[in-house]
């Protein structure tokens, strides 16, 4: 689990940054291999233990799509895994039933994770893309009173 949060391979490239073969040079039928080596037991391995090829979108980033980003606050989180199951971009990193953080290479800033977080205050909140996570956590709201 060494490099799960800062996996070197992840999000190396902007989409479309590099062209292998022009679209007009492709003959009918193309096979893209997601992995460099034998992929037979891929379902038994975590991302950090797989050898992704440059064809896997795992190695690409969509970070530039975001204008707002979710920030994760470990202190409040109860590891319910709601954010993990509903993230449409496989961007909540969970290992051994604990949330480790957000994959900012693949997160598009949709805000679904914040909506489904059940804690009070929420353990995930949206902030401007430019704000640092430390600054965001420093302005975390306090517990909201239940409306009568």
């Amino acid at each position: 689990m060494s490099n799960v949060l800062s996996n070197k391979k992840r999000g190396m490239r902007e989409l479309g940054a590099e062209k292998k073969v022009g679209w007009d040079e492709v003959t009918h039928g193309v096979i893209l291999h997601s992995f460099e080596d034998d992929a037979t037991d891929v379902a038994k391995r975590k991302a950090e233990d797989r050898n992704y090829s440059d064809f896997s979108s795992y190695t690409a980033t969509v970070a530039s799509w975001r204008v707002i980003k979710p920030v994760y606050n470990r202190d409040i989180c109860i590891d319910c895994q709601n954010c993990w199951v509903w993230c449409p971009d496989s961007s909540i990193i969970s290992r051994d039933k604990q949330i480790l953080g957000i994959d900012y290479d693949h997160c598009k800033g949709c805000g679904v994770c914040v909506e489904v977080c059940p804690t009070n205050p929420k353990s995930l909140l949206m902030f401007g893309e430019a704000l640092s996570s430390e600054d965001a956590i420093a302005q975390w709201p306090v517990k909201e009173k239940k409306e009568k």
């Binding site: 997601s34 379902a43 038994k44 979108s57 795992y58 980033t61 199951v85 449409p88």
Partner: protein, 317 residues
């Protein structure tokens, strides 16, 4: 079949993800929630076909693929055909003894949009189910042709505004009722048929696992709330899905071997249909006074369908 435990979310979260990020589906798109969960609920090798539509164009943008498994893209009408062909070849090669790993567990899955399932791939799906291929067909039902800009399909419900049946001065939008694909597939001979929604993650995972474990053709209709064409904020995908299942606009049930119908989710508090409609831009015009009768009709249709499902469940026919 090697299944991942879906007893609770914590257990489920220990699965090894096989659907990668940096696909190009819209932020908040439910297609990926459904696909990710299918791939996460089993360890078996998967052979997946996907025809043209939002899912395909967004997950195989050359030179990238988001699929950590065998995956085939095929033309608009042929998700079922590709999965059926791969399954037939697999069986033939197994019989002839030419498979490298004949004992490795393999499952065949097809993903199609509602445009391709309800309309354009309909006869190919029907044929594959009739022939009895051992595969699971999953329709990502967003009730329109989203990838080409939101045209109506035969899954679009009455009153929705789409680009080919827009609401305006002379029309309230779609005029025909949504086609009942579950009844059609059950009558077509599918061994297992189910309607699921991503907000009920466990219900959905259980249906996926049942389908994958069933020997025979299975059809699953998955509610896929579309932020772009239904016109709601991307953060609300799960909220909208909750409104759909809890207002019974999208009831969750299964049909086994064409006859045994089981309701798989009963909301504790049934919400009014108008709450579901009010949350989406595609139904905005229904709230004009002259269209009030349409909302009443909606509610009546939903009540009648719920009544029908309950009676079928009871009658076991």
């Amino acid at each position: 079949m090697a299944i991942t435990s879906v007893k609770n979310l914590k257990e489920f979260s220990t699965t090894n993800e096989r659907f990668e990020g940096a696909h190009l589906l819209c932020p908040g798109c439910a297609h990926s929630m459904i696909v990710r969960e299918l791939m996460n609920c089993t360890d078996d090798n998967l052979v997946i076909s996907t025809n043209t539509g939002c899912l395909e164009v967004s997950t195989a943008v050359y030179p990238y693929t988001s699929w950590d498994t065998s995956w085939i893209h095929i033309g608009f009408e042929n998700a079922a055909t590709a999965a059926a062909g791969a399954e037939a070849m697999y069986k033939a090669r197994k019989r002839k003894g030419t498979l490298k790993n004949p004992d490795a567990p393999v499952k065949f899955v097809a993903f199609g949009g509602d445009g391709s399932t309800y309309d354009i791939g309909f006869q190919w799906l029907s044929g594959a189910v009739e022939r009895g291929h051992n595969f699971t067909y999953i329709c990502l039902d967003n009730e329109n042709y989203a990838n080409t800009g939101g045209q109506r399909s035969s899954s679009t419900p009455i009153g929705a505004s789409t680009t080919t049946a827009p609401a305006g001065r002379v029309s309230y939008g779609e005029k025909r009722n949504k086609k009942d694909m579950l009844a059609i597939m059950a009558a077509n001979g599918a061994s297992y048929v189910a309607q699921v929604a991503p907000n009920k993650w466990k219900n959905m995972a259980q249906a996926f696992q049942k389908a994958l474990a069933t020997d025979g053709p299975c059809y699953i209709n998955a509610l896929s709330a579309c932020t772009t064409e239904w016109k709601f904020d991307p953060k609300d995908t799960i909220n909208i899905s909750d409104l759909a299942t809890d207002s019974l606009v999208f009831p969750l049930y299964e049909i086994i071997d064409g006859t045994e119908l089981n309701i798989t989710y009963r909301p504790k508090n049934v919400l009014p249909v108008k709450d579901y409609l009010a949350a989406q831009g595609r139904f905005k015009h229904l709230f004009k006074p002259e269209n009030a009768y349409l909302i009443e009709e909606w509610q009546k249709r939903v009540d009648a369908k719920w009544e029908y499902l309950q009676r079928r469940e009871e009658a076991r026919v």
